[in-house]
Each structure stands twice: as C-alpha cells, then as structure tokens.
Symmetry: C2
Subunit: 319 residues, 2 copies
DNA sequence: CTTAATACGACACTTTTTGTCATATTAAAA
DNA sequence: TTTTAATATGACAAAAAGTGTCGTATTAAG
C-alpha cells in the first residue's frame, strides 16, 4: 500500500518535470538510485511511456502526453461518458477523435459483461441527430488551436465571389446542423466575419499573436443583440400554435386562448425578415400576420414574383 | 506490486458477485480469511462502499454502483472527454447529467494547472450550437430505460386533437435541433409513431415487456426508405449552388458548370414536397424548378392562396 | 580516457504482508 | 438455550516483497 502511494507521487513528479535523471528522483524521494530504477520499471509496466538515454548527459524522458494518476470510476460514470460520446457520432470531422476512442476503449475493457452489453445497446437507442455531411473539414484542429493560442491565420476561402485570401484571428469553432463554422476577427475590416470551416483551404498559422480580446462564447452571446427591433403580431390556428411552439425564437411568445387558437405579440429582429417570411409562408393558413407590414409585403412580393416566373415559363412552353 | 494487482483482481470479483463472505474469497484467491479481511479494509479505504453483516448467514455486500479498477489516462484523453462534453452543453434536459459531472470532476482535479486552464478556455472557444429550449422534458430517462428494457409504457400526449392516452413500446430517444423525440411502436396501430418527448405527461411503465424487435438505430436507417421516389430537376444560379450545397439532402447532387451556375438532376422523396416547396421558395430567383410539376403547382398554389389571403384583408381594411 | 548516465544481477538487510491462533461479538438455526 | 457461522480485532512468527549496496556492462559527451 505504501508503495502504490509513492509510485503515484513519483508519477506526479515525473509528469511535471518531463525530463530527469534517476539520481534526481533518488534525492527527491530519499531512495537509492537502484530502487528508483525499479520504480521506473514498474511505472512503465503500468503504461507510462518512458524513454531513456544512456551516456553522459543522458536521462529519462516521458514520451507523449502526461499521464494522470489512477482514478477510480463507477460503472455509472463510465456509462455517462459513453452517453456523451453519442452526441458526437454524427459528425464527419472532429478534433480529438483518436483520443476519445482511446479513452472509451480503456473504460470499455474494464466494464462488466452486463454493462458492456448495456453500452453496446445504448448506441442503438440514443442518437443526437444531425444531418450527415460528406464535406471534409480538414483544418478543424488548426482553427481550434489558433483560437486557443490567440494567433492570426491566413487561408483561401470559397466565397460568393470565388476564392479570396483572408487574414484573420479565429474566435473559436462551432458546429451547427452538422456543419462547422468559424467566426474570426478581421483586422482589415475591423469586425468579426463568419466562415464555414469546410470552405477554408491552404491554412497557414501566422506568427503574429495577440491577447484574446473576444471569445467565441462572448461573440455568440452578444451577436443576437445587433438587431433591429420590430413588432411582430400574428394570429394562429390550433395547429399554428403547435408549430410555433416548436421553434426556439417563438416558443416563449405564443399565447394560447381557451379554444386552442393563439396569438403572437412580441418584438423581433428586423434583420430576420427573410427567414420569417419563409417560415410563415410554410405555415400557410395556420398563421395570419398582422404586423409588420414589411413582412406581409415581402411575402406578397415574393409570391407574385414566384407566380410570374412559373406562369411565364408555362406560357412559353405552351406556345 | 503483487498486492495491488491482487487487490484489483479482488475488486473485479467483488463487483460481479455483489454479495459474498470472507471465506468464499479466501478459497477463490487461495488466501487466509484474515488476509481477505485486511484486503477488504484496504478496498473500503480506497473508496469501495462495503457493508457487512455479522452473525450466521451474514456476509459482505457492495453498496451502490460497481467501481472500475484504477485506469491511467493521458491528459490528452481527459481533454477529449471535456471536448465531448461540450456537445451536451446546449441541452436543457439530459439523462446521466449528474454522473457526467462527477466523472469530469474526477478528471479535473488531477489535471495540471496548465491543462486546467486549457480545458476552462476550451468551453469558451467550442460550441455545438443548438437552439436553446426552455421546454421541460422530465421523462427522458424513463423513456430511455424503457427502450433499453423493451418495456411498454403508457402516457398522456399533447397532440393536435388535444390530450390523448397512448400505450406504446419506445424504440429509443433522439435529439434533433434541441428537442427530444421518441419513436415508439404502437401495438394498436401496428406501426411506429413519432412523439416529441416534451409533450409526454404522466408516464407509467407497464409490466408487459417483449423482446426488442426494432431499435432506434434501425428505425432511423430504414425510415428514409419509406419514400415515394420522384424526379427533381432544378437549374441554379451561382448563389443557388452555394445555398444548395449547404443542405445535406442536396449537397451531393449539385452539378456545377464552368460559369458557376448549377443544375440538380436527382431522385428524391415525394413525401417531402411540402418541405421542398418552402426551401425553393426561399431561394427565389436563384433556383428554377423544371420537375416535378407537382412541386411547381404546390408552390404556385400556395403563392396564390397567400396573395388572396393578404390582399383580401387589405381590401376589407380599406373599405 | 574520464565522467556521468542507464541497465541489471546478486545478496544481505528491512519492511510489509500473510497465516495462525486466540478472543469477542452477533444473529440465525437447531 | 446452545450451536453454528459469520464478522472484527489483536498478537506474533513466518514468508514474501521491497530496498540498499555492491559489482559489472554499456553508452555517449567532453
């Protein structure tokens, strides 16, 4: 028992030093060099990746990453980790993919047969659905690392106008609907631009780095504030209520009457009129917009234009 | 060293037996009863929750959950677990929430200061964005457990027609766009129905259970096959190409010409016409549908109806 | 060719672990 | 009520594991 404790202590010490000689450890722990060598043997048998160099100015080095002291987990905790992993299943590209698999494997081998079955089963009974994408996003890890380090990067971007060169400082990365996005600060334009990570090519990390001024989280929180407040008033049928409660930007603003019909009276973002137009268009007769007039006009204008386009076409075909 | 290994072996044995006497262990491991008692003392000092009962027909019992043997993780692996956890941050309700926090805490305390900072930082630079929902979904864990056990359940459901009583066997649960769904097999209707978990009330687990015939995974995989194949042909502007590449059901079917314009010629699901109509409506002049005629009619019909509704209303107000 | 490191075997010494025996206590079964 | 089978704990000697001190090899920098 005493030995295990000392082994753990030595592991911690080694982790922080990364490179050391047997003599150093012997003095640190009040042991003989021979014993230290025996301890190191034990540790590498336990899985610590040690590398030694003989000769003057030689010594030991820990390869790869630091290793945490042994931790006791309950099976329930292990299950919960497998559960969390389900949330990543639908992503085509992920940073840390190899590490997660290694960690899960370590848990898995120690699970009881019964729990192994439960975990296997779980992946068949839980899903965090996201559209399956086939787009490659090769620079995810680089974008993340650059944002953590506060470094500027340079890349080619497929934009509306074709490929353009960008020089920006990424704030972080986020996944939405199966795609990865990267908001990044452009020094030239003095504002944050939003990029789709799969449209980024030939990325280079620049040496220029700066203290982080803005993080992804802050940006996500402040972004919705840049809005043009506009009053929205809509009457809803029973089915309209159901549909509107299903979208996050409306769910808290739907008032329901006794008869099951509903009414929306709230302030929304005037920049989102296009999105709102297509949303209420889909609802058809289940929603009737009273305000704003601009939204009604947008919908009518779009409807007329659509009719014109298809009717004309039908006309030409008939002639 | 020999002792630690034997302690681990004993831990594993105890985990599977759950209830045992010192004599049993002594025979199993070829040790004296006295030594076994000393081992058990060590194990409970390490955190194994043991309970003992004196007297004839007494013995030991493990309380609570099984404990896994000590595992060595690298710091990178620990980081990857924190990363996976980010994917769950935006969910309002989660099964296993307490366990995940307990597990993360165990990792966190052993991380080096440097890595603690990295992990703290990460949550500010990565997000798996999902609409924030405020709907309570209290029966998530019950739905999951019932699906794993293959049990029937009974509940009240808020449907279009008001509250109705359902008796079904859940296949599993899945999250989509921040909401939890539960497909479940109805014996009455002899088919799988899809429920929104937040609309489920007063759930009761029934005793009736059956061997699983279908899992969530299988259902998700087979579901899209129940389609009505229909030919879709669309011409796209440069911007239309960009937009269509951004949606999963089209991204692989967009052909791009040299001039940047594009063309879609594929087979899709005829049941999705409503959704497709609203999608192409949003694209406006950037997409021109050639086939199917039904889709064009749907769009035109909807446009006419929309115009009629709003123009009339404007008329009555003017009078 | 000296020095400072790893590598490892041998052996005596020290510490820890283990088994045995003794004794107490408890609760079910005879 | 007595027996029996379990836990609980202490003491002590025997066994095993761990440790320190040698000695010897090997390696590579100075």
């Amino acid at each position: 028992m005493a030995k295990s404790r000392r082994l753990v202590d030595m592991l911690m010490f080694i982790n922080t030093k990364r490179t050391f000689t047997a003599k150093e450890l012997a003095e640190e722990f009040g042991l003989s060099v021979r014993t230290v060598q025996r301890y190191l043997l034990d540790l590498s048998e336990l899985g610590l990746p040690l590398y030694s160099e003989k000769g003057r100015s030689g010594g030991y080095r820990v390869l790869k990453n630091r290793i945490l002291p042994p931790i006791l987990f309950t099976e329930e905790e292990a299950i919960s980790i497998f559960f969390a992993y389900q949330a990543l299943q639908y992503y085509h590209d992920l940073p840390f993919d190899a590490e997660i698999h290694a960690a899960l494997q370590k848990f898995y081998v120690y699970l009881s047969e019964e729990t192994k079955k439960k975990v296997d089963k779980m992946s068949a009974h839980i899903a965090f659905w996201n559209p399956k994408r086939n787009l490659d996003t090769p620079y995810l890890k680089e974008l993340l690392e650059a944002s953590l380090a506060g470094k500027y990067i340079e890349f080619l971007y497929d934009s509306k106008a074709g490929q353009t060169r960008k020089e920006v400082k990424p704030l972080g990365i986020y996944a939405h609907n199966g795609l990865w996005y990267c908001p990044a600060y452009s020094y030239d334009k003095q504002k944050v631009l939003l990029f789709r990570a799969d449209r980024i090519h030939s990325l280079k990390v620049l040496e220029k780095d700066e203290n982080m001024s803005l993080t992804l989280k802050e940006w996500l929180e402040t972004e919705p504030v840049n809005s043009q407040p506009i009053s929205l008033k809509v009457t809803l049928t029973h089915e309209g209520v159901r549909q509107c409660k299903g979208v996050p930007w409306l769910e808290n603003h739907v008032k329901v009457a006794r008869d099951g019909n509903g009414y929306i009276d709230t302030i929304t973002d005037g920049n989102e009129l296009n999105y709102m137009a297509s949303f209420f268009y889909t609802l058809g007769a289940h929603a009737f917009i009273e305000e704003p007039q601009e939204l009604i006009e947008k919908i009518c204008c779009h409807a007329e234009e659509t009719l014109r386009r298809y009717k004309n076409e039908v006309g030409t075909k008939d002639e």
